[in-house]
Amino acid sequence: MSTATTDAPEATETAVPSFTVTFIIRRFDPDADAEPRWQDFDVEMFPTDRVLDALHKIKWEQDGSLTFRRSCAHGICGSDAMRINGRNRLACKTLIKDLDISKPIYVEAIKGLPLEKDLVVDMEPFFASFREVQPFLQASTAPEPGKERIQDVVARERFDDTTKCILCAACTTSCPVFWTDGQYFGPAAIVNAHRFIFDSRDDAAQVRLDILNDKEGVWRCRTTFNCSDACPRGIEVTKAISEVKQAIMRGKP
């Protein structure tokens, strides 16, 4: 009996199949390369592993110079947006079993922000646009002494979707308009403006609508839906942008 029970888990453990997966990674070392170059790595992976695990394995076991950002490793911090097989995804949320491993997997940095090294880009222009839309609550009245600002469920629901953003930049760097016009505010800044424009406790909606009624604001959006497709939080990005467009036309949220 006892042998049978100890044997059983072992048998199932060895039965989990692993595969050799080829990753083709776009490398760039600013000190050595004039142009980015593709390099391939073979990694032993389980279907339940994620692309981030592959990057770790490469960095820890094959080539310590591979450079990428990650922090939480669980889809919360927004550090590891990258282009996986031609689409913007978080490496930590992309499972190997969801990719076609009969072909190599292409991994490269997100597009449209200055490339610094390997998979790392300069996020500063992205955060600058974010700051410009004043993404913080601005109320012109004081709450009742000792009370919080009351908001009913329906009013909270109005902007619930856009509260989920983790500022990973997957949306902004999937946008064809942003690739060719780096001045465009980009989906992420508009999403975060939306979060406050439609918040009943906030009084600065008009200021943000004016900021986004710019030639580089919401009107640059061509509804390609790349952003909605890329968002790891499942935010309906294009819909949020459309709502801001309509609020500008109405002149109020």
Binding site: E35, R37, W38, E108, P176, T223, F225, N226, S242, Q246
Partner: protein, 141 residues
Amino acid sequence: MSESATGTLTAPEQPAKRSRPGGTLYRGNEGMWSWVLHRITGVAIFFFLLVHILDTALVRVSPEAYNVVIGAYQTPIMGLGEVALVGAIVFHAYNGLRIILVDFWSWATRHQRLLFYIVIALWVITMLGFTPRHLINVFSH
């Protein structure tokens, strides 16, 4: 030895595969490709109209020259070109209506993919109606 031979055989294929200096092509969905087509057709229509306004204006300068230019439109090659032109305008018009719906109606924003296939279906139906009649005209002249 045979392994290393296959190795050298497959080797030249690799650099070609990897010569994508700008990175891979972004694999957008229907929304992105409909926009690419919309812009291409929009720009194409614009240039056709520009030329067409200029050649029509020619009638005021020299009616003979105008007749020569308009005569050129009657050739079969131009007839095929007209199919392409009508195809571009029809796609641009239907997809333009799709974009207007997507911009103003949240149901359409959610169902843009379905609307894109409806645009394609309407385009096919329109072209099936137009192309045979038009080509009969062109080639029976």
